[in-house]
């Protein structure tokens, strides 16, 4: 009874904390501009199933895809066992599902144990890859400090949680042979069965303590992990789904239009304006300086980012030593959102704190280096577009600050006066035809 109550309290506390954190993330995403995305539902569902559930884009790199898939599949399936644990905790039962499933229960748990071992294997491989082989994309400048620690912590936590499951099951089996009360006969589990000898010489009472500790450790660990995830790049395990559902389905080359400008241009050209577009309001900005100038989708992108760095490792600017890193753009966007969200929650200045995404986080040097090649967009396993954010910031710099590089300003001037980005006389535009007709003239 006390255990049930304690469990309820623990569940309640974590439930509350996680709920509060989800609310915060939602609020932060809603700092972004509204954008309606509810077309082509079938295609969206299909994209989500392929890219998030099927991890299609991960398989561009086979080995990491394989190990990542192990962790992912393990994560999803072992949750069925977590469900049993939660119900046991609430109802004060032990292995609630066992009597219903009979021998199939043993098969099922054995299967989960295999998964647990595979998850441990994958985590170890990933830890080695990150820390011993020092894969280049995990050691870029933006990964210094917390991001690297975050990645390692997750891998260690997952390993420890899996070990807890296995120890719990092993102790359970020994207790069954001791005929301890409540411990339903399940037969031997495939993996933890091998661990039984380690526990055989222990007394029933210490086994009970061990089994219960492992049980509590595991379930509290899972709760803590769920909370931790919301502060970590591992949020992608949830957000990958909505984020791929709301993927951009248009050709990658297409830049988003700015209807507010279209109207002004129409008026300048003496054409009738579109009444359905709201007229520019006081204080409205062209392009993006801060997170609230980006769309909610851009912001959800930032929360979905796995910090895997596939974008950065494919980026031509980054590969040739420029400061631009598309991953950093996403991490900066997220950091700025967190900063503003924290400030707002404390009744602080929020967006009005004198800082902004462009300037305090991202520099012009970074955004100017982008070739809009879409390599980052193509590479991203969860369909994020760092390019969209970069281009929005360029719009701000060009139209609000007139702060584009000098050569671009000259190019603008050429387009305006010569109708070509170079300084050629418009009257010479058709010279090539004469040259072709009489090459030696």
């Amino acid at each position: 009874m006390i255990a049930q109550l304690a469990f309820l309290v623990v569940l309640g506390i974590f439930g509350f904390l996680i709920f509060r954190r989800i609310q915060r993330i939602k609020q932060n995403i809603h700092l972004g501009k509204s954008q309606e995305i509810n077309d082509r539902k079938d295609e969206r569902l299909k994209t989500m199933l392929l890219v998030a559930f099927g991890q299609k884009k991960m398989f561009k790199r086979l080995l990491p895809a394989f190990f990542h898939f192990l962790i992912y599949a393990g994560f999803i399936l072992i949750n069925i066992e977590v469900l049993e644990i939660v119900l046991d905790g609430l109802l004060g039962t032990h292995r609630l599902f066992a009597p219903f499933l009979g021998s199939f229960y043993t098969v099922l748990i054995s299967f989960f144990e295999i998964l647990a071992v595979l998850v441990i294997l994958a985590c170890v491989v990933f830890l080695i890859r990150r820390n011993i082989f020092k894969l280049d994309r995990f050691h870029k400048i933006e990964m210094k400090g917390w991001p690297t620690l975050d990645a390692n912590l997750i891998l260690v936590i997952e390993t420890v949680l899996m070990l807890a499951i296995l120890s719990m099951n092993a102790a359970d089996q020994v207790l069954q042979t001791h005929g301890a009360e409540h411990y339903t006969q399940t037969g031997s589990f495939l993996i933890s069965g091998f661990m039984v000898p380690m526990f055989e010489n222990m007394s029933t009472s210490s086994l009970l303590i061990l089994e219960r500790s492992a049980w509590w450790f595991h379930i509290v660990g899972i709760f803590a992990f769920a909370l931790y995830v919301t502060y970590s790049k591992h949020l992608h395990i949830f957000l990958a789904f909505p984020n791929t559902y709301y993927s951009r389905l248009e050709p990658k080359g297409k830049m988003g239009n700015m209807p507010e400008i279209t109207n002004e241009v129409k008026l300048m050209l003496g054409m009738p304006a579109d009444d359905s577009v709201a007229p520019p309001v006081e204080g409205m900005k062209f392009g993006a300086k801060d997170i609230n100038d980006l769309t909610w989708k851009n912001l959800m992108d930032a929360y979905s980012c796995t910090e895997c760095g596939r974008c950065t490792s494919e980026c031509p600017a980054n590969q040739t030593g420029k400061k631009l890193s598309p991953r950093k753009i996403m991490m900066d966007t997220r950091d700025r959102m967190e900063e503003v969200g924290d400030s707002l929650a404390k009744g602080g200045k929020g967006l009005e704190d004198g800082k902004s995404l462009l300037g305090d986080y991202v520099t012009k040097e970074e955004i100017n280096a982008c070739t809009s090649c879409n390599a980052c967009v193509e590479a991203c396993p969860v369909n994020i577009s760092p390019l969209e954010i970069i281009l929005q910031m360029r719009r701000y710099v060009a139209m609000e600050e007139s702060g584009s590089p000098q050569s671009w300003n000259m190019m603008f001037q050429n387009v305006e006066t010569n109708f070509a980005p170079w300084k050629f006389a418009p009257t010479d535009r058709f010279n090539w035809a004469d040259e072709l007709k009489s090459p030696n003239a």
């Binding site: 050709p251 990658k252 080359g253 297409k254 830049m255 239009n257 279209t262 002004e264 241009v265 300048m268 050209l269 392009g287 031509p316 600017a317 590969q319 040739t320 030593g321 420029k322 100017n368 280096a369 982008c370 070739t371 809009s372 090649c373 879409n374 390599a375 967009v377 193509e378 281009l391 360029r394 719009r395 710099v397 060009a398 139209m399 584009s404 590089p405 050569s407 671009w408 000259m410 190019m411 603008f412 387009v415 305006e416 109708f419 070509a420 980005p421 170079w422 050629f424 418009p426 010479d428 535009r429 058709f430 010279n431 090539w432 035809a433 040259e435 072709l436 009489s438 090459p439 030696n440």
Partner: protein, 266 residues
């Protein structure tokens, strides 16, 4: 030598005669002004003449699509250009456009519709592929490309931006040369470094120029011809080859030039 019988009608001339072209050839600024890319324009026009397609150009009425301004952030300027161009195109009732510039292609095809300009737009590699499929373009006996190695550099605005990967390769196939792919090709292709208005400014500080990185990869295939389908890629790759002092051994050529050459039109 004169090419007196070459036809390069403008849409205005056609309209004056009460005619309309089947397809408009959008030449683009590089194709009109850049010496190197003018050669591509000419080669493509030769092919169009040779197969007898009823095409026309805007001639002096064409202006920048606005792509470089847009990518550099100047949406005002882009929309001014776009609206003006749409007025001209619609004024002539244009419905179908072909262009040898992937940037023009992307803008006309994907971005003009939102401003009211709706056309069927194809890249010249796609038109060439159609002509090949229709048997109108093919290799003359004893082509000069047999046994040679060609590599194709994907333009980002054609490839990733618009998923056109096959057409340029199909065009190269008829040359009967050996097509050797770079490691980074198709969806993984490395940019030449000029997109996103980079063509119009110096690169930010770094340890290498992007075009040099890409050219090294292209040279690594051992090909004697680097085929491109974009004026900016052309400039960047040619500069890269120069930088590596390989101009004597390796040529950078547009798809239309290669076809025109193989057909004995140049």
């Amino acid at each position: 030598m004169t090419n007196d019988n070459i036809q390069i009608p403008t849409v205005a001339e056609m309209a004056a005669k009460g005619e309309a072209p089947e397809i408009l050839f959008w030449v683009g600024c590089a194709g009109s002004f850049d010496d190197r890319y003018k050669a591509v324009t000419k080669a493509f026009v030769q092919i169009l003449n040779n197969v007898g397609i009823k095409f026309a150009v805007l001639g002096p009425e064409e202006t920048c699509t606005g792509d470089p301004a847009r990518r550099a952030g100047n949406e005002f300027l882009y929309q001014m250009q776009a609206m003006a161009n749409i007025q001209v195109l619609d004024g002539y009732g244009i419905t179908k456009i072909v262009t040898a510039c992937p940037h023009c292609f992307n803008t006309l095809k994907n971005e003009y519709p939102e401003l009211g300009g709706n056309y069927e737009v194809i890249h010249h590699s796609e038109l060439l592929q159609q002509l090949i499929n229709d048997g109108k373009v093919g290799l003359k006996e004893g082509g000069t490309f047999k046994g040679r190695k060609i590599t194709y550099h994907d333009s980002c605005f054609l490839g990733r931006a618009n998923n056109v990967y096959e057409a340029p390769r199909k065009v190269l196939e008829v040359l009967d040369a050996e097509l050797v792919e770079m490691k980074r090709c198709k969806t993984n292709g490395l940019c030449c470094g000029a997109g996103g208005a980079q063509m119009f400014k110096d690169a930010e500080p770094g340890k290498k120029e992007i075009n040099v990185e890409r050219t090294e990869e292209a040279l690594g295939t051992g090909a004697d011809t680097i085929a491109v389908g974009c004026p900016f890629c052309m400039t960047m790759m040619a500069d890269g080859v120069k930088n590596k002092e390989k101009e004597a051994d390796v040529k950078v050529k547009d798809l239309a030039e290669l076809i025109a050459e193989a057909e004995g039109l140049l």
